[in-house]
Symmetry: C2
Amino acid sequence: MKVYNFSAGPAMLPEEVMLKAQEEFCDYHGTRCGIMELSHRGPEFMEVLATAKQNICDLMKLGDDYAVCFIQGGASMQFCMIPMNFMPAGGVADYADSGTWSANAIKEARRFGTVNIVGSSKETNYDRIPLVRHWKPSENAAYLHITSNNTIAGTQYHTFPPVKEGVPMIADMSSDFMSRVIDINEFGMVYGGAQKNLGPSGVALVIIRKDLAARANSDLPTMLRYSTYIEKDSMFNTPPTFAIYMLKLITDWMKAKGGLAVIEEINNTKSEALYELLDRSDFYRSPVSPGSRSKMNVVFRLPSEELEATFVKEATQNGMTGLKGHRSVGGIRASIYNAMPIAGVEALIDFMIQFEKANG
Amino acid sequence: MKVYNFSAGPAMLPEEVMLKAQEEFCDYHGTRCGIMELSHRGPEFMEVLATAKQNICDLMKLGDDYAVCFIQGGASMQFCMIPMNFMPAGGVADYADSGTWSANAIKEARRFGTVNIVGSSKETNYDRIPLVRHWKPSENAAYLHITSNNTIAGTQYHTFPPVKEGVPMIADMSSDFMSRVIDINEFGMVYGGAQKNLGPSGVALVIIRKDLAARANSDLPTMLRYSTYIEKDSMFNTPPTFAIYMLKLITDWMKAKGGLAVIEEINNTKSEALYELLDRSDFYRSPVSPGSRSKMNVVFRLPSEELEATFVKEATQNGMTGLKGHRSVGGIRASIYNAMPIAGVEALIDFMIQFEKANG
């Protein structure tokens, strides 16, 4: 039986990539060693690192003014690195509060300065992106922080907020990184853990404007300074070589697919098919405000928690796994990142129709 | 041709482990998903994590008073986390300076307080462990930091220094972690990147006495506090699941071998054979003081740099790779971690004898 894994992350990776990594696992390019057994300063890994970076530059059309960094610790480490680097003493930063991960980022930032919440959807259980026209930016924010896709609530920014001249926008893109075309020039920095669209867990991708990194607070610990990663090409110390290798294979695959515009179109097709079913059904219900729906994490409810439990169980029996909603909110969540083929979404839709017929 | 990889790290992993990981790479225990594609909160990974921890407790005979943590960022991140957690405001910590990595640890610690160098072998190019009987501990050190094995210089502590009651000893064991029996009760904390004896790069193993973690400075960023990893069982955020999975397989392998006493004996056999050859040869020369020789990284010199270059080249042609010394010191370095079989060391010795005959 074919298995489609709808986990929110770590998540399924492209089948071709997994097979290739398996094939060369013990013998990378004739070395008789796995890539994870080779020195990070040897020619094999140096080429992997350079290609991964170049792929990201190509796919995201990055100019020379941006640097690509690979940093350990996931997005959660970025939650402290960002204010450590960019919050001036006694300063203020603007944060939009659109979900659990925004709230975590805010909590860390408060250790380093004043956080101004420009907008929040907490009062409506994070069912939408806070309406930008109601945002209240501070006069002198060091930066604006947003969470482009909210994995738990199932919401996503479809356009990005305008910012005042000189205020860099920083976006946590963990759960929609490289799932669509964005204009990097709108951002001072974008970042995210790899374990949704880009690879296994254990590496975060950070794309940062070099002049922003250069203005960071000085005298930070070496490993917590963005400039360390820029100056040393993410090789100040041993990087997570296998995770970067997987990221290289996955960005190779993305380029072969035709790049982000093609991937975005496929992602639109997948999410539209699911939302169409939710909209025409009286059995399934989306808790998300229509204008804020995520194309990555489609969350929905059934008439009862009992039916939700049965749904998850029967879906698993039918080869569709990882559909249980986050433990903090319940319900169902279908995470349909880049690696989820259209066939997987079609299988889920067929199952949902059958399940509604049997239980509706 | 069989290849023996003498890299200093990332380094060779046990062949059986690599083959097993390859076999189940795309289908972990019948899930039809790779372990890296599965949720870190699912039953499969939770079992991997629990087993990895239990293996470490068993192998190192840890009591309940110690916690096992998996932290990203390598040993270099520990260089700042240690003083952030344990250096009191205006306080002092004792550091032994036995090599490049000690010096890096000292550099980071100086950002947070006063560092007292208890002893240093810098003046003799780190050719030995600084003589403990000449050490000058401070009156009120928050902790003592040592580097148990010096990967670049090829030196190692064969006994550990005594410490004053109440001063926790913290050891960077990156390059000899779990290569021999140690008494954990001598230490407040031991840590190291996995990429030598324990797995791929991308995860550091930290073993810490719980009462020490509990006395750490408060108000640190969540990801930089040891207590976060203890309280959340290294799952505050998504851990590097594949690296931990590899570490689990490798500790399974270590247990199957018979545990650390057996592994230590094999490591003694390997290193003694190499040092014996160095001692009886007029061609090869060890730059390391005999009492400080590392059993993990055997460094040696040939009569000229030209001969060293030829040695590395011909060894590679004969299936022995990664023998070039660290770029900062030159020479030859044979890293013979747990995964290097005796046959690999025998092959190297045979080659060295032939090379001496041809060039001596």
